[in-house]
Amino acid sequence: MQAPDTLRYSEEHEWVRVTDGIAVIGITDHAQDELGDIVFVELPAKDAAVTKGKPFGVVESVKAVSDVYSPVTGTVVEANDALADTPEVVNTDPYGDGWMAKVSLADPAEVEQLMTAAQYEEFVAKEKS
């Protein structure tokens, strides 16, 4: 499993990268690996309000439907609409082109409550055992 040091992580296996008050959000390498081949992604619309810990989208693998939970509270400024046609990018590039939404943060301090890469790796190891 890969978890870049520059990102923050949620217990629902989303990652966050913050630049200038905008959080880019996606699902982790571990999450995509657990899901398997992703064949459908449903994302929030631009200007949608999202709430930390609440579902904001859906990823579907061949076998299963899974909610994607927002790791932060704020307003969607952009969703990765390219995933509608190429959902498999979430498998191949979860931290890059597989990003899901950009959210304008209501409370930037929320990000500090998320796990660091080291904490997330430990969390995943514990979940597995």
């Binding site: 064949v39 693998s61 061949v62 076998k63």
Partner: protein, 371 residues
């Protein structure tokens, strides 16, 4: 939850890096390289499935043929030695106890292959009707592999003494595979040409290893239950527990050709005759989504905005690259040209009824031997 059962190939699956999941009380591989990859392998080359979790009952001796006839909807009289029949066990009210394959090994010796999740239920059902006929549960002693795909025959041929060139669809022969006694059956659950191989549970790892090794150059991959489901769904083959259950009938499921209402009596015949005469209340149809999304088991089907049915199986077809589903709809809607939607997370997505199977392989040389 009680401990999950494991097949004799559990160690082989672990070694192959399979993702293992619970299925019907068994710990089974859901995928190895990935469901889409495995699906493609079966459609274009070959796949090898461990389906040892399935159950096998042997019915033999005086009264064996009569018991099979009494318990199953198809006509056992149509079978000759070495022939397999897809058939159903039904309740008195026509509900499906299980869908099975029935092998005639001799005039007084039959093998029933039943769904893993139904072994205990079927066993009790058959025992309750056996009236002294010998029935033996061989499930734990028997392993089962499925070798499926356009290259299945060329992979198997060098490993068996069974003449595959003359073994027709829905026929079987008893011989050897990889030097071990086996039943080689030209049947499957994928919509491709292929074989199901029954052998002693202890010997199954030998067959598995030999087939994996012999098949690798031809593109054979081990395939898990994930692709087994997408393959069977593209072929519109019913899955018990999804598309069939105790509350569904074979007629409403579109399986009338496996129900011989004018042959000898069987459990459920009166109810099914009444259904034939009155017409089924609902029918299983093939659906294709016209909008974005995937229809899944349990999603409501609406006609002109009113609930008229339910999705029983659905996925995104890897071959067609479209969302396809099977579902029951009220009979009045079974041939509707428009007005249908599937409700996905509160949203209405347009759907169309389409002919099944969704996928049909290009037929080559295998003549049909079924009934």
């Amino acid at each position: 939850m009680s401990a999950l059962k494991r097949t004799p190939l559990y160690a082989a699956h672990q070694a192959a890096g399979a993702k293992l999941v619970e299925f019907g009380g068994w710990e089974m591989p859901v995928s190895y390289a990935g469901i889409l990859d495995e699906h493609r392998a079966v459609r274009t080359a070959a796949g090898l499935f461990d389906v040892s979790h399935m159950g096998e009952f042997e019915i033999s001796g005086p009264g064996a043929a009569g018991l099979c006839q009494r318990l199953t909807t198809n006509d056992v009289n149509l079978l000759v030695d070495g022939q397999v029949q897809y058939t159903l066990l039904c309740r008195e009210d026509g509900g499906v106890v299980d869908d099975i394959t029935l092998y005639r090994r001799a005039a007084d010796r039959f093998l029933l292959c039943v769904n893993a999740g139904n072994i205990a239920k079927d066993w009790a059902w058959i025992q309750a009707h056996a009236e002294g006929v010998s029935v033996e549960d061989r499930s734990d002693a028997t392993g089962l592999l499925a070798l499926q795909g356009p290259r299945a025959a060329e992979i198997l041929a060098p490993l068996t003494d069974v003449d595959l060139a003359t073994l027709r669809t829905f026929r079987f022969a008893e011989g050897a595979v990889a030097g071990r006694p086996a039943i080689v059956s030209r049947t499957g659950y994928t919509g491709e040409d292929g074989f199901e191989l029954y052998a002693a549970a202890a010997e199954v790892p030998v067959l598995w290893e030999a087939l994996v090794e012999a098949g690798a150059p031809a593109g054979l991959q081990p395939v898990g239950l994930g692709a087994r489901d997408t393959l069977r769904l593209e072929a519109a083959l019913a899955l018990y527990g999804n598309d069939l259950d105790d509350a569904t009938t074979p007629l409403s499921a579109g399986l009338a050709r496996f129900v011989k209402l004018d042959s000898d009596d069987f459990v459920g015949r009166d109810a099914l005759r009444a259904e034939r005469d009155a017409g089924s209340r609902r029918r299983l149809v093939g659906l294709e989504l016209r909008g974005a999304g995937i229809a899944r088991h349990g999603y409501p089907i609406l006609g002109a905005g009113q609930p008229i049915g339910i999705v029983t199986s659905g996925t995104r077809s890897p071959t067609l690259e479209r969302a396809v589903a099977l579902g029951y709809v009220e009979t009045a809607w079974a041939e509707a040209a428009e007005g249908l939607t599937v409700e996905i997370r509160g949203r209405q997505v347009a759907a169309a009824i389409v002919p099944t199977p969704f996928y049909r392989r290009a037929r080559k040389s295998t003549p049909k031997g079924g009934s």
